[in-house]
């Protein structure tokens, strides 16, 4: 109904322009009040104690019960849930899913408060291309893809992304403000190179669809070094690529395999503007799968021992000993040696420590001339920015919300960062987060009521230089036996499509084994 503008012709004078007014009266009367608020919150979902018990092999209670179950899936993250999804789709229901946490979902876990649901980890699915059949099938099952069309409500609403650069917000994350001709030329050339890589067919999702293992030469070059060799020296482009590596792999470009770095840019062929996202991020998918398999899922079940015995596998939790024909090990692969004797070597598997924080923002910050996007990134920040949980709301009124703040401790060696993560207290990270955000939101300390922080020492596998083409990874991924590995870390990077692929592949192998025996 806004129908005035120049046409009414009756404004007092040309200077009395409206936007300036509000600003003006605020400055004149001094409406801004600045007192620092007390921010509440704590560390949540802590599981490092359990992890340490696993790695020091105990102490654990000996189970009093024994159950016979043909297939045991260890870990109810996206890989384990996908294995269950596949088993059920193929008509097989004799399985249990054992999850050590109180909640299924793994890295796709979610939380909820009186304002909204929010993610604790993975928060989007890039719109799958026409060849990513498995993930399309899953999303069609969940009603996201209907008759070959993506439901608009699950696609990320406009505006999707913005970047805080040179003191203001720009649309999109690729730095553009004050980009030089040289920067633009390198963007163009980089895109051209990625198009060539895409056309080569070597960079697919899931990675195994390419039908060949990653090119060892490219895998042995760090992404940062690859950029240098190719003559890409634009600081903007380097920041952008480094951001992509930190965001998807939790590692700096200098420590990431160039094959993985290229894969990020050359593997996608989305057939709509996305990504797909939900208030609770990929928790939306996890929670639907978890509720579908509720009768099969045992949460709070720590698997502390897996023993192979002739044709059977015994799986020990503190309450029940499961006797299975087949075990799908969908927990992080590095845990295998701590729970089973004949685990393959996993010394080359490195994981990135992460921190996610959910901030209750009860009054939106005052951003002049910029609307809050779904994903909001600050240039040259050590963290990754934040996503807004209420972004997919159909309402028009901005109210209290939750921001999920992501921080991959990407610079430097993972063990050192893991120690930093686990030896510092909540107040340390609260301050670090608020300081980081205050670069873009001067009034952030007045806007945040609560900050809950989740620390993950081994959040996602890191595609270190040479890892993707390593014999160790290839061997673990190919392993076939009564214990089948299924975690996304077998792919060397942690994305939902890989988790799903590994889970589904393990489920198929399990069924093949069972079928062979019966």
């Amino acid at each position: 109904m806004e129908r005035d503008h120049a046409l009414s012709g009756r404004e007092t004078n040309g200077l009395a322009r409206v936007p300036r007014r509000g600003f003006l009266s605020a400055a004149l009367v001094g409406l801004l009040r600045k007192t620092d608020r007390i921010v509440s919150g704590s560390f949540v979902n802590e599981s490092d104690e359990l992890g340490h018990r696993l790695r020091s092999r105990g102490p654990f209670r000996t189970p009093a019960q024994r159950e016979r179950v043909p297939v045991v899936v260890v870990g109810a993250g996206m890989a384990g849930l996908s294995a269950a999804w596949r088993l059920e789709k193929r008509g097989f229901r004799d399985f249990v899913l054992l999850e050590m946490e109180k909640q299924a979902g793994g890295v796709s876990r979610w939380g909820e408060n009186e304002i909204t649901a929010f993610p604790w980890g993975a928060h989007y699915v890039p719109v799958p291309g026409p060849h990513s059949l498995l993930i399309r099938e899953l999303l069609a099952d969940l009603g996201v893809l209907m008759d070959g069309k993506w439901d608009e409500r699950h696609l990320c609403f406009s505006p999707q992304e913005r970047l805080f650069l040179h003191g203001r917000w720009q649309e999109g994350i690729e730095p553009e403000l004050a980009a030089t001709a040289r920067d633009r030329e390198q963007y163009r050339r980089f895109e051209e190179r990625m198009r060539e890589f895409r056309a080569s067919g070597a960079f697919t999702i899931p990675m195994e669809r390419a039908g060949r293992s990653p090119d060892a030469a490219l895998d042995h070059v760090p992404m940062g070094e690859w950029l240098r060799r190719e003559g890409f020296d634009s600081p903007y482009l380097n920041w952008y690529v480094n951001y992509a590596c930190r965001d998807d792999y939790g590692a700096a470009a200098a420590a990431t395999s160039a094959w993985a770095g290229v894969h990020y840019f050359a593997s996608r062929e989305p057939d709509d503007k996305g990504p797909l996202t939900w208030p609770e991020g990929n928790g939306w998918i996890a929670r639907r799968l978890a509720s579908r398999f509720k009768p099969h899922i045992r949460t709070g079940s720590v698997v502390f021992r897996i023993v192979r015995e002739s044709a059977r596998v015994r799986v020990f939790t503190e309450d029940v000993e499961f006797v299975a024909d087949c075990v799908i090990f969908a927990a992080p692969t590095f845990l295998a040696p701590y729970v089973m004797e004949d685990a393959p070597p996993v010394g080359g598997f490195e994981y990135s420590p992460w921190l996610t924080a959910n901030l209750v923002v009860d009054r939106p910050p005052q951003d002049q001339n910029s609307e809050v996007a779904w994903d909001n990134v600050i240039y040259d920040s050590p963290a990754l920015g934040y996503v807004v949980a209420t972004h997919q709301s159909l309402g028009t009124v901005e109210g209290p919300t939750v921001w999920t703040f992501y921080w991959a401790l990407a610079e430097g060696p993972a063990p050192r960062n893991r120690r930093l993560l686990l030896t510092t207290d909540w107040a340390y990270w609260k301050e670090a987060i608020l300081n980081d955000l205050s670069r873009a939101h001067a009034d952030i300390r007045q806007r945040v009521a609560r900050i809950d922080i989740m620390r993950m020492g081994h959040a996602m596998v890191r595609p270190q230089v040479g890892f993707l083409s390593s014999a160790e990874r290839l061997r673990a991924a190919a392993a076939n036996g009564p214990v089948l590995f299924a975690h996304s870390d077998l792919s060397g990077f942690s994305i939902i499509e890989e988790a799903q692929y590994r889970g589904v592949t393990a489920a198929d192998r399990a069924l093949a084994r069972l079928g062979g025996r019966r």
Partner: protein
């Protein structure tokens, strides 16, 4: 004694600089081009100080008394300078003249201060010490003020209150000078009373600063403001000029009582007059009750549901005498149900069906409002219409925002509507566009209700004809994940208004 003396120098120097900074800032805010404003304000201020210094030689006797009165004058003129200028900007014509007059007046007075003070202190110190001390504290004061101004004063106090606060400092220095130099001012009673008066005046000013700016702001609207309120969602302002009542929401004109009938007849009748059996009607937006007034002209309509975000808006439309007169008390009519809710989520939960829907939302100025113009929204709307149902959508101006307009048409088509674009001339807005969405074939009605002021069956049919400068242009549909509409709108309207 010494420290106290030089402290006054420090304070008056700080005050002097503050007034200068405030004038520069205010001029930049109001006139733009901060480099020009600051340069000319500082230049004329310093020049005026020179005049003050030159004039100081003509003051010969009763120096302390003079000094105190000058301080009081600075307190009043400086303290009220911002309020004065802001009000002047809102009401007056010659803002620049006022600005420089105020700047020069303060400059002259401030220019008098230091020479006078030096002469008062002349006998008490060695000349070289005196000059050194006075100038040191003078410059120190300037430093203090220049730091205090951006960091504390503007954000915490605002310009109006900052000026008054420093007026109080000037007046306090005046008052305390009457004690410091009591030997030189034997009968200080009147002087002190003057100081007290100025202090009280400025104190009151501090308290009422908010009202002063609000009063001035009202005058931004050309006409007399008869109602103004900030609600949770917007600022509602009603103005009146002779027989013309206008409603502004957050400064955007919603209607002028002189020609709103053109807009609302065009919005309602092409659709509703074509649905003789219509019983249930939905209005989204339109909290002024004017579309409902048109709808109630159909006796067959049994139920009108109006969904508007802002309860204060619908309350105002139901109770304010001017608005009630205009909308005929439509919102309190028996057949009308008013619901205050955000339209998209409301429609998502609603299960009822409607024969006719009026969609009268604010223009898509941002991505939040843009959601109300997406394929997802129109699909949901279609789900709430009966098989022969129609929806009329206000769609901004096909003349001034041509691609925006045709984007809305395209979006409705994508959502499954048969779209019938039409337009009408509304003097307050210019050429205005609407889209009628139909789920089954539509033909313009051959009859309209009696007593319309604008539409006849012939004019109604003609509205569907578009002259070539408003005709269809290619546009992408507006979708939640790709709001092209907001981009079109921004480009087209900013091309006109800048």
């Amino acid at each position: 004694m010494q420290v106290v003396l030089f402290l006054s120098v420090f304070l008056i120097a700080a005050c002097g600089l503050i007034y200068e900074l405030i004038a520069g800032t205010l001029a930049s805010y109001l006139l733009g081009d901060s480099v020009l404003q600051f340069s000319t304000v500082i230049g004329s201020y310093l020049f005026a100080m020179g005049i003050g210094s030159a004039l100081s030689r003509y003051l010969r006797r009763g120096l302390v008394r003079r000094f105190v009165s000058i301080e009081l004058m600075v307190a009043v003129v400086g303290g009220f300078s911002t309020a004065l200028l802001f009000v002047g900007f809102a009401y007056g014509e010659a803002f620049r003249l006022q600005l420089y007059a105020v700047v020069i007046a303060i400059g002259i007075l401030v220019g008098l201060e230091i020479p006078l003070l030096m002469r008062i202190l002349e006998g008490r110190f060695e000349f070289r010490d005196l000059v050194a001390h006075v100038l040191t504290f003078d410059y120190l004061g300037a430093l203090g003020a220049s730091l205090l101004f951006p960091i504390v004063l503007v954000p915490k106090l605002g310009l109006v209150r900052s000026a008054m606060a420093f007026g109080i400092v000037n007046a306090a220095v005046a008052l305390w000078s009457t004690f410091l130099f009591r030997a030189e001012v034997p009968r200080a009673g009147t002087l002190r009373a003057g100081c007290a008066m100025v202090l009280a005046l400025l104190g009151a000013g501090m308290v009422y600063a908010g009202k002063i700016t609000a009063a001035a702001e009202n005058n931004i609207y050309a006409d007399e403001v008869i109602f103004a309120r900030d609600t949770r969602y917007q600022r509602i302002v009603l103005t009146k000029w002779k027989d013309d009542i206008r409603l502004f929401l957050s400064s955007h004109l919603q209607f002028s009582s002189r020609d709103e009938y053109r807009y609302h007849e065009a919005l309602v009748h092409p659709g509703l007059a074509a649905l003789p059996g219509a019983r249930r009607v939905l209005v989204l937006g339109g909290g002024d009750g004017l579309a409902v007034r048109e709808i109630l002209k159909y006796p067959g309509v049994e139920e009108v549901t109006l969904v508007d975000l802002d309860p204060e808006m619908t309350h105002l439309s139901s109770t304010h005498p001017f608005l009630r007169k205009l909308n005929g008390g439509s919102l309190t009519e028996r057949r009308v149900h008013v619901i205050n809710a955000d339209a998209f989520p409301w429609l998502e939960k609603e299960t009822g069906y409607f024969d006719f829907a009026v969609v009268d939302f604010p223009d898509p100025t941002n991505h939040s409002l843009g959601k109300l113009y997406t394929t997802a929204f129109y699909r949901l709307l279609a789900h709430h219409l009966t098989a022969r149902g129609l929806a009329a959508v206000q769609s901004t101006s096909p003349l001034f925002a041509r691609q925006t307009y045709w984007c809305i048409v395209e979006t409705m088509k994508q959502a499954g509507f048969e779209a019938h674009p039409y337009h009408a001339y509304v003097p307050a807005f210019g050429e205005w566009g609407f889209v009628l969405g139909a789920l089954s074939p539509y033909r313009p009605p051959a009859q309209v209700p009696n007593g319309l002021r604008f539409l006849t069956p012939i004019t109604l049919a003609q509205m569907f004809d578009f002259p070539s400068d408003m005709g269809p242009v290619p546009a992408e549909p507006n979708r939640l994940n790709d709001q092209v509409l907001v981009r079109y709108y921004d480009q087209e309207w900013s091309a006109i208004t800048h």
